[in-house]
């Protein structure tokens, strides 16, 4: 009697344990990912929002709640940080809208070429991938060198083409330089990766559709318009939304190409860079966080606004 008791008991418990384990296994497997995301992404994000309502200036400070004072500083009035902020909003909109549009046109062309079969395709693909692999800093520096007013490539060719008359035009790095030369770099930087994203949607389109359209006598343009673009609608939407957010938030190009360290070119300043400089160079962590929050609200607001129109047109 006493010998037989542990046997069913233990088997029952192991069964129970096995069942528990079977149900909890997926949770055990994702726990490291969930925990690290909560600790090192969600928590800093929420605490960042919290800091935007506090007086924290540098890490040694205590974060005291001061309400909307940081927001008041950046939004009200036209001098100091508020002036920087106002200018940065306009420039970030240019930077993103024109940057993403340019990226999209080039990326679409590249994806269409990548999708074709032709001898030498391998080399073409390698060229695209090499430019994706390059470190952003390295490219930013190379572009800065290409924009060099005296010995740079850009001025040389623009002079040859007769576009500019002043032989030593300063494009970047001075207090008067603008955002436009930086948008060129951003387009250059962003389009190869975007083309791979678009290509993934393009390869999902079945070849039969094209064959059928060919039989019906549709020409290349019609096929591109009615098949490629319509079939890729979702991919294009996702790509555009993601790249808009990435471009809006990215600032290493603006920073490395645009500023010659110490000089803040107020005509070539985007919101994320302003937030970074305010936080880490001018020691206003709280105000920098407020700028970041405003920047996030702006981009998400604009995206939802345009998405709502899109949604309405779909439902009607």
């Amino acid at each position: 009697m006493k010998i037989s008791l542990p046997l069913p008991g233990s088997s029952k418990s192991s069964l129970l344990f096995g069942r528990l384990r079977k149900h909890s296994l997926p949770y055990i497997l994702i726990v490291p990912a969930v925990l690290s995301l909560i600790l090192f992404s969600l928590y800093p994000f929420i605490s960042g929002i919290w800091y935007s309502f506090t007086s924290i200036g540098w890490i040694t400070d205590i974060a005291k709640f001061i309400g909307l004072s940081n927001y008041q500083q950046i939004l009200v009035g036209g001098v100091g940080i508020a002036q920087f902020f106002g200018r940065a909003v306009v420039q970030t909109i240019y930077w993103t809208a024109i940057g993403v549009a340019g990226q999209f046109v080039l990326a679409m062309a590249t994806a269409l070429i990548l999708n074709e079969k032709f001898p030498g395709r391998f080399l073409f693909r390698t060229a695209v991938l090499v430019s994706i692999a390059m470190p952003t800093v390295v490219l930013a520096l190379t572009w800065q060198w290409m924009y060099d007013p005296f010995y740079g490539l850009v001025n040389h060719y623009l002079k040859l083409l007769g576009v500019i008359h002043n032989a030593n035009t300063i494009w970047v790095g001075s207090t008067n330089s603008t955002i436009w030369p930086l948008i060129v770099v951003s387009i250059w930087r962003g389009f190869p990766f975007m083309s791979l994203m678009l290509l993934s949607g393009m390869q999902g389109i079945s070849q039969e559709l094209y064959e059928a359209a060919k039989v019906d006598g549709a020409n290349v343009v019609a096929r591109f318009w009615h098949i490629t673009l319509t079939q890729m609608r979702t991919t294009i939407m996702i790509t555009l939304v993601l790249n808009t957010i990435w471009t809006w938030n990215s600032f290493d190009i603006v920073m490395v190409v645009g500023s010659s360290w110490g000089v803040v070119a107020s005509k070539a300043l985007t919101l994320p860079l302003l937030a970074w400089i305010d936080s880490f160079r001018w020691s206003h962590l709280g105000r920098g966080a407020a700028i970041s929050v405003m920047s996030m609200v702006l981009i998400l607001g604009m995206l939802f606004w345009s998405a709502r129109r899109e949604l309405r047109s779909v439902t009607e």
Partner: protein, 305 residues
């Protein structure tokens, strides 16, 4: 009897066919050649756009200082020299060996940590249905929409309180976590492509689920895991903003920031800076080229889902 007749008929049809098809064929080849020419022109344009800055960098890194400041612009060195590389490698201010070692350590550890977290999570996302899966998947997408400056500010204060500023440990964790969403999606795609029957067989043979993952699935998914690892590694190797913000001690600094430190604030000598840039870029490019097929394939499966 039937065979020769059809054969004859066929040959005759073929003959007459080709004779009639000649103009049509010509039109078709013209069209084909035209398509190729157009493709090559367009592809050439895109390649030019992609490669001009890179070629300019390569060229500048092999150029003598006096030719850098000349009005002669050409895409190959006027007088090829290795002096810029010598200059960078021997310059104590560049500290290229030390910062390269730093970058190597930080990037490798961050990659390993990232893979350890993401292989299991990607497997769970591929094979199980569980409560909260959708929320988790949503967060993985939303992750990329959170502005990095805001996270950076929160993170900076947090790391300072934990005494992890100016410390590789903090940087390694941030890099590993930064790559999580991408790695999980990508690895999930690889696991999806492996049939479930394989691990069911392994489990019949006496493995438990984790054993099956470790002994059977992982070796099968290894090429994919290596590709994801390379992508993550190159991402860490190239990263600039976080290293610039979190590491202030020049002895601990990583390569991308070290270029800027080396450049200095005064008049820039572009030859050595471009040579330094080449040294930073080459490992990234070589690794990417090595994993080329996997990266493009992975993108394909990753984004369509």
């Amino acid at each position: 009897m039937r065979f020769p007749v059809t054969a004859f008929a066929n040959s005759q049809r073929k003959q007459t066919g080709t004779r009639r098809q000649i103009p049509w064929l010509r039109k078709r080849t013209v069209k084909k050649v035209g398509r190729l020419v157009l493709l090559y022109i367009l592809a050439g344009l895109v390649v030019l756009i992609c490669l001009i800055p890179i070629i300019w960098m390569v060229k500048s890194s092999f150029e003598m200082a006096q030719w850098m400041r000349s009005s002669r612009i050409q895409f190959w060195p006027i007088e090829p020299t290795l002096i810029n590389y010598k200059n960078v490698l021997s310059n104590p201010n560049a500290a290229i060996g030390r910062s390269m070692l730093n970058s190597l350590i930080v990037s490798s550890l961050a990659t390993l940590l990232n893979l350890a977290i993401c292989v299991t999570a990607g497997y769970a996302m591929s094979r199980f249905k569980f409560k909260g899966k959708t929320i988790f998947a949503m967060y993985l997408l939303i992750f990329y929409m959170i502005p990095s400056t805001l996270v950076l500010i929160g993170m900076f204060v947090m790391l300072a309180r934990l005494h992890l500023l100016n410390n590789w440990f903090g940087l390694i964790i941030i890099y590993a976590v930064g790559g999580i969403p991408f790695s999980i999606w990508w690895l999930k795609g690889y696991f999806d492509s492996i049939p479930v029957e394989i691990e069911e067989e392994a489990m019949v043979d006496g493995c438990d689920r984790l054993g099956a993952l470790w002994r059977v699935i992982l070796p099968l998914a290894l090429p994919g895991v290596i590709t994801v690892g390379i992508f993550q590694f190159v991402g860490c190797w190239n990263e600039f903003m976080l290293a610039l913000t979190i590491i202030q001690n020049p002895k601990l600094q990583l390569l991308p920031v070290q270029i800027i430190n080396f450049m200095g604030y005064q008049r820039v000598e572009w030859g050595p800076v471009m040579a330094f840039s080449m040294i930073v870029a080459i490992p990234a490019v070589v690794l990417f080229a090595f994993a080329q097929r996997g990266i493009i394939g992975g993108m394909m499966s990753g984004f369509t889902r």
